[in-house]
């Protein structure tokens, strides 16, 4: 339990140096992104995710 708390704290501390930007380009139509999504869909459609990822 203590270890988990320690790791959680470390992770929260680790995210403090990203700056937010607002003019985000939409990459959803980028061929690379489309290709990656299609590739992942083939795997997920055929094999699905393990129940450990779906339920909890």
């Amino acid at each position: 339990m203590l270890d988990k708390k320690k790791h959680n704290k470390a992770i929260k501390e680790a995210v403090s140096n990203g700056n937010v930007f607002t003019n985000v380009k939409d990459y959803s139509k980028d061929p690379f992104v489309i290709k990656k999504i299609e590739s992942s869909k083939k795997i997920v459609e055929k094999y699905g995710f393990p129940k450990e990822l779906i339920t909890g």
Partner: protein
């Protein structure tokens, strides 16, 4: 996981991350994206990672050779942490564009397994078998991760 990583810019919704790799081949702009994919059985976020070319398109087949692979990988890991801090129930799917890049992801997971395992559920995809709990020494084609409930 306090690894040396690049400073990055992220979008307000925590779905896009931009940073610059710096090395012998100069500055190379890189982007990490988490894209929601909705399936009938389960929605998930696909992780895309690549270089931005001069036209602003993503290219993940370029070999940067900037001698900073570990720092770049640490930045991707950081993005996964930030993203899942804000989307704690999300399943993230990651697949390298080539077998060697997928292997690099795997080496990174192996190297920092003691830090990753308490925080993330990690599954590796094996062709014809599906997703299996990540084990050191196995070769995987893709990965699916989710934050553990604390």
């Amino acid at each position: 996981m306090n690894l040396d990583h690049y400073a990055y810019l992220m979008s307000e919704d925590f779905l896009s991350y931009h940073f610059c790799s710096e090395g012998p081949n100069g500055k190379i702009r890189k982007v990490i994206l988490f894209t929601l994919v909705t399936m009938p059985s389960k929605s998930y976020y696909n992780l895309s990672f690549g270089d931005l070319d001069e036209e602003g398109k993503i290219n993940d087949f370029v070999t940067s050779n900037n001698h900073d692979a570990e720092k770049v990988l640490a930045t991707v890991a950081r993005a996964v942490i930030v993203f899942t801090n804000n989307y704690p129930d999300a399943v993230v799917f990651a697949e390298g564009s080539t077998a060697s890049r997928t292997r690099r992801y795997q080496m990174g997971i192996n190297k920092f397994w003691n830090e990753i395992e308490p925080v993330f559920k990690v599954f590796g995809f094996v062709k014809s078998e599906g997703f299996k709990p990540f084990r050191s020494g196995m070769n995987y084609m893709a990965f699916a991760v989710k934050r553990k409930k604390m």
